[in-house]
Every structure is written in structure tokens, then in C-alpha cells.
Symmetry: C2
Subunit: 230 residues, 2 copies
């Protein structure tokens, strides 16, 4: 007979929803009911329905039952790629060049994003990422030296700052912000584009527990698109 794996049950329920047997927003049978009709245990149905809930297909509420989401939320598992991997994925050779490195900069916007006062020492870094020696993206970064003191003496000739930090502080959370920005005179010169050109921009601030580790702004040289499936 038909399989009673949680996998199979999940797909059978998904198929019914897709076929319109349970219209949008309506309540679907309970776990016990499904278990009886599929001839499996409630545990198995539970796992299948939990998976569908994780996917955003259904909503579950205690006592309220399970219902098909009124409007399915188009959500995607977006992987923020390392610049090196982005370049190498297109078959080009990756390199990077540290343009500026010092502790002089006291960028107010950066401190605000990291929620740090003026007393915390920050390392400022500007890096140009290259693909086959052509400008690919420009990165401005600030690193909290209280949180990562070793960064002050890190060798960034092999690993880029980002890769160094990921290895050193692997388990951090972060906030990402995507936007479009006009190229400033300085950035335009480095990326070899016209001033005012539309640059795809990624801002990221990274935290370990309550401490801000680093914040950065990555400006991609056009044409650049971030693609993914939903």
C-alpha cells in the first residue's frame, strides 16, 4: 500500500491543498482524523504538518486547528555568499586589495549601527574585491577591537577581512540591509564607474550575543544581481 512515512503523508496533504481540496484559509482535518484516514499514527501526521507549517503552507494553533494560510508567504532561503565564492563561481580569479587600514576613522553611522560609544576602539578597513583584476565590489568595514582584539594584527593578505572574521567568530547573528545607492566620487573612482551610478549595496552588522563585532557596507560594481529561487 501507499507509504506511511512522514514524508509521504506530507506530500499527500500538500497535494490535496494544491488541488484545492482545502481552499485558502480553511481549516483542514485534525491530526487524529488524518491519522485514521491515512492509516498511520498521529505522531507521523504531526511531523508532516509541522513541516508544512515550517514551509509556510499552513498555520497551526493549539485548539484552533490547522488551516491553509490565507496567502502563502513567498519566502526563500537566501544564502549570503562570500565575495570570493561569488567571483570564483563565475570562473574568474579572485583577489583583493586592502586600500585603507587604520583606527583613525570615527564614522558616526558605523558606531550607530553597532550601538557603540566613542570610547570603543574601531579598526577601519577599505577593501577592493577584484575578479580577474577588474573591480568587482568595494567594501568599507569597521571592526570592534574590544570584541576581537586579535584583528588589529591579523594578516589580511591571504584571507579577506570577512573570511578572517568568520573563522575567528563563527557563531554570530546579524542584520542585513539591501539597498540601491548612488556611487560617491570616491567609490566611483575605485570601482571605475561614473559618479552617481546605481550600486547594489549590502549593509551587514554582526553580533556575538550583545557585542557588535563588525559592520560593513559592500557596494557591487554594476551590472550585479543577487538571484535566488522562491
Amino acid at each position: 500500500m501507499t507509504a506511511t512515512t512522514h514524508h509521504a503523508i506530507r506530500e499527500r496533504i500538500r497535494a490535496r491543498i494544491k488541488a484545492g481540496e482545502y481552499p485558502l484559509g480553511t481549516r483542514i482535518p485534525g491530526e487524529a482524523e488524518f491519522a485514521a484516514s491515512f492509516g498511520c499514527s498521529r505522531t507521523t501526521v504531526n511531523r508532516a504538518l509541522r513541516a508544512l507549517a515550517d514551509e509556510g503552507i499552513v498555520e497551526r494553533r493549539r485548539k484552533g486547528g490547522t488551516r491553509v494560510r490565507p496567502l502563502p508567504v513567498p519566502q526563500a532561503q537566501l544564502t549570503i555568499p562570500l565575495v570570493r565564492e561569488q567571483v570564483e563561481a563565475t570562473g574568474r580569479r579572485y583577489s583583493h586589495r586592502v586600500v585603507v587600514r587604520g583606527t583613525a576613522s570615527t564614522d558616526a553611522a558605523a558606531r550607530r549601527r553597532m550601538r557603540l560609544g566613542d570610547d570603543v576602539p574601531l579598526m577601519h578597513l577599505e577593501t577592493l574585491h577584484l575578479a580577474d583584476e577588474q573591480p568587482f565590489a568595494f567594501e568599507r568595514r569597521w571592526v570592534n577591537l574590544w570584541a576581537v582584539p586579535a584583528f588589529a594584527s591579523a594578516d589580511l593578505s591571504v584571507l579577506s577581512a570577512n573570511e578572517w572574521l568568520v573563522r575567528e567568530v563563527p557563531f554570530s547573528s546579524g542584520e542585513v540591509s539591501l539597498s540601491a545607492a548612488a556611487a560617491s566620487e570616491q567609490v566611483a573612482a575605485v570601482l571605475r564607474v561614473e559618479p552617481g551610478a546605481a550600486l547594489f549595496t549590502l549593509d551587514r552588522t554582526t553580533w556575538l550575543d550583545e557585542a557588535a563585532i563588525t559592520t560593513m557596507t559592500l557596494s557591487y560594481r554594476p551590472p550585479y544581481t543577487l538571484d535566488f529561487a522562491i
Copy 2:
């Protein structure tokens, strides 16, 4: 005593990994071992470890055991918001205005994205999304009338085209592309920005099985950022 919920177990294991007790790439104890040390059943440990694997923190292989991922993948569950919800989330009133609607346009780029020949009838639509009557985003869309014939006579005064389609064809997959683009004369005029302004742009093509349903380009009026946590 400490809780033995799969939730608590998951966090305790996560804390150990974060603390560096199990370095990157190394194998961590097996389910049975954890169960004994935490005083819970193997089932509970299994569920906790499965959750950590879903998050990308650990990798699991039968017989191979569970190991900490060598480099954590920064991935995010990105929800593509409906424009209406984006506007209403900021407390403003949403409205939209259909600027152009017809079947005359034979946009080659749109047909290419949808992988359709010249014989398929397309409905072309240009919509301005407003927040408190101020331009918020401009949408250019093409709809495959073979796949969704009812769209030709849809009433788009209440629901926007996107919402109409989501209701009609709820379970579809798609490709999304994010980029930055300079505002054309026409788009600049509609959005009330300077021509050449940097616009955050979202392209999306939606499929039901093998049939392209719709493709669209959404240009956001600056300043706009797409924010999410990783």
C-alpha cells in the same frame, strides 16, 4: 532540575558549540551519549540535533555521526513582502493606481524571462503603489493569458495584480533577482525622483509547474531598504 525539552536540549548543545567546546568541523557526541548525559531520551536529542542541522549549525550523516559545520553558512529566511503589507507595516495607508493596461506591448525581455514565444498573448500592466498617496514603488508586469485567462477581465481596483494572482495561483515557484538600476525618464517621472536616481529593483518570474504565470519588475522609490536578520 534542568528541563529536558527538545528546545532546552537544543540550546544547551548550541551553547556548547558556541563556547568552542566542540570546535569547527569536529564530531560531537552521538544521540545516545547526549541522551545519557542530559538524562533524556534519544528521541528528544534527535529532534534537537535535527533542528540544529536545519539551521545549518551541524551536519549529520548516518553512521558518520554529527559534526559542527566547518564554516557556518550565513543564510536567512527571507520573506518577500507584499507591497501592501510593507506600506501598512509603517502605519501608512496603501493604495495603488493602474497606469497602463493592455495587450499591445511585446516586450522581448519579458518573453525571454518567461521563456515564451511571440504567439502567447501577454497582458501588460503598469501599476503605481502609493503610501499615503505618495509614490512608493512602480511595477511593470506581464501576465501569461494562456495560463491565467481570467486575468484579462480581473477587477484590479480592489486587489492589486499581485494579490489577485497570488489568490488565483497560490502555489507557484519563482525566481527572484535583486539589483540596483538607474531610473529611466519614464519611471523617474512616475516615482517623482530625478532621472538616473538609484532604484532598488526586484525582478520576479513566477511558474506553475512548467508554465510561466507572470514576470514583473518592481522599482522602489528611494530611500528603500530590504532588511532582514541572519
